[in-house]
């Protein structure tokens, strides 16, 4: 019997006590595998696992399952994202089995942005189960080796179970309780929403540590480098659940437009340095949105290279 729940690289890194560094990759709006593989090259060797997003912002793209399989084929470790918006429990369990069969060992269980945000707002939303129950379902399939109907699974999917946490959504006081519920449901690791409001996140982590949640689960802090002040303004206005302090926008605007990307990266690097020391934070999840080509440089400057190898 393995000492690991899934044996994924991410699980081994976290269990060994290393500061984890994960990345993210959005699949293409099409079947452009060549472009996807090009993006993989920026991530390979620079992160421990790569989140493959699932119709993010409710825009239809290549499936996260196919994207995850392509990651695996190319020698990267996928973190297969699954939302509750597009699949009922049958399709979810089928895709979990399929993902495992294709080499996937990490999953991130999410509710999913509402379809009205995306490019098919006419779609029916499913929500047969919610993200809390998805966590419990993946854990059940792994630990009990059973489907939801209690039938046995012939070769169960052994996934390292991830969940999201947005400390910046409301009501704030409830967020830590929701995190605790996700851990109780079976989350092995958490990747937070992009953090920009450091003061609020420090407070959130203090509550998390006070409740001892960091000892039950690995918490990876979400970092998104801003490309410019325009991106920061857009996210503040249009992306639900984002908390972008005016000081950050001011900081980006304070430099020449050509220098704003560098300023955004500097802020991200400062954040990563603080997260390395922050109690309860086990790693960073870098979401360089359509900016994968800057990941090698960010990883290098953040002093997280080379990535540790754990057997």
């Amino acid at each position: 019997m393995s000492e690991f729940k899934s044996g994924s690289n991410l699980e081994k890194i976290l269990k060994a006590g290393h500061f984890a560094f994960t990345g993210e990759c959005g699949p293409p709006k099409g079947a452009n595998v060549a472009h996807l593989k090009e993006k993989f090259q920026y991530l390979k060797g620079n992160v421990d696992a790569v989140n493959m997003t699932d119709n993010q912002t409710a825009v239809v793209r290549m499936s996260s399952l196919a994207g995850s399989a392509l990651l695996f084929q190319e020698g990267l470790e996928p973190n297969f994202q699954m939302v509750c918006r597009d699949r009922n429990r049958l399709a979810m369990m089928a895709d979990i089995l399929g993902a495992y069969a294709l080499g996937v060992r990490n999953m991130l269980c999410l509710s999913g942005d509402h379809q009205t945000f995306g490019n098919h707002p006419q779609a029916k939303n499913v929500h047969c189960i919610d993200s809390m129950q998805l966590i419990a379902m993946v854990k059940k399939m792994r630990d009990e080796e059973k489907f939801l109907n209690e039938e046995d699974i012939d070769v169960a999917p052994k996934m390292f179970v991830g969940a999201a946490c947005n400390p910046f959504a409301d009501p704030y006081e409830y967020r830590v309780h929701r995190l605790a519920s996700k851990i109780d449901a079976g989350a092995d690791f958490i990747q937070t929403q992009c953090i920009f409001n450091m003061e609020k996140f420090r407070d959130f982590m203090k509550m998390t540590v006070d409740m001892g949640l960091h000892e039950k689960c690995y918490i990876l802090a979400g970092v998104t480098p801003m490309k410019n002040a325009g991106m920061a303004n857009f996210m503040k206005k249009f992306v639900p659940g984002m908390d972008i302090p005016d000081e950050l926008i001011k900081r980006l605007k304070s430099v020449d437009k050509k220098e704003q990307a560098e300023e955004g990266i500097k802020f991200a690097l400062e954040q990563i340095e603080e997260f390395k020391e922050m109690e309860g934070v086990a790693g960073v999840h870098l979401m360089a949105i359509e900016w994968e080509q800057r990941v090698p440089e960010i990883a290098e400057r953040a002093n997280v290279l080379p990535r540790p190898q754990v057997d």
């Binding site: 409301d170 409830y174 519920s181």
Partner: protein, 225 residues
């Protein structure tokens, strides 16, 4: 009650485009209460149709009638003597009404004049809001007497998603985040722990997902009550 909105005059006009003589039938049930298909609205629609057709130099003869309930065959049968006198019948009841009418009078054409929207009630004069999704297994007591199946855009059972902001839903700033309301109510009562346990997987068979539903009360069928 069942809440509905009237279809546009243009849509109703296009339905009866080729008809010369129609009956507009209202209902004294829910659609009267939500001011969409009662006696008053039947007359308003009939007048509007007549004026529009007169303007188009294609006059339309219209009679009106309001049934006690269109979802009850006892009342639907009251149209028996006259329903055949018309080219078509426009029903202003919820989606149930024109179906009961169609089932009883197979030769007649029935057009729905309203869009049935939800189960809800009036929160102020002129404003109706959804409260129930008719899922068939009510558990509102688990959520402070508030239904997240009907009132959360994602039907979440374990708290607000990451898009909840200042009490508003991510879908629309004018839509209340019902989980914000549930959580705040429980926090005020010091009962937030009620919400934390992972709930059982919902059995959707009792909802529309299990197929069309039927409710049988044997004692009534047998005529004992």
């Amino acid at each position: 009650m069942i809440v509905a909105d009237r279809k546009s005059l243009e849509e109703i006009l296009s339905m009866v485009e080729t008809d010369k003589k129609i009956l507009v039938v209202g209902c004294k049930g829910c659609v009267t209460v939500c001011n969409v298909g009662g006696a008053k609205e039947v007359e308003v629609l009939a007048s509007a149709l007549k004026i529009a057709r007169k303007k188009a130099e294609n006059e339309l003869e219209i009679d009106t009638h309001v049934l006690e309930r269109q979802c009850d065959n006892e009342y639907v049968s009251q149209l028996g003597d006259t329903v055949g006198d018309y080219d078509a019948v426009v029903s202003m009841a919820c989606g149930v009404g024109p179906q009961f009418l169609s089932e009883m009078y197979r030769e007649q054409v029935f057009y729905p004049a309203v869009n049935t929207t939800f189960f809800g009630g009036a929160t102020q004069h002129g404003v109706w809001e959804e409260r129930c999704a008719g899922c068939g297994t009510c558990g509102i007591h688990l959520f402070g007497g508030i239904c997240p199946i009907a009132r959360c855009a994602k039907s979440l059972l374990h708290g607000p998603c990451g898009g909840s902001s200042n009490g508003a839903c991510e879908v629309n700033k004018d839509t209340e985040c019902i989980w914000d309301t549930i959580v705040k109510k429980k926090m005020e009562q010091g009962k937030v722990d009620d919400l934390l346990a992972v709930k059982g997987f919902k059995d959707w068979r009792s909802a529309r997902d299990g197929g069309p539903r039927r409710s049988i009360r044997e004692e009534l069928v047998e005529g004992n009550i």
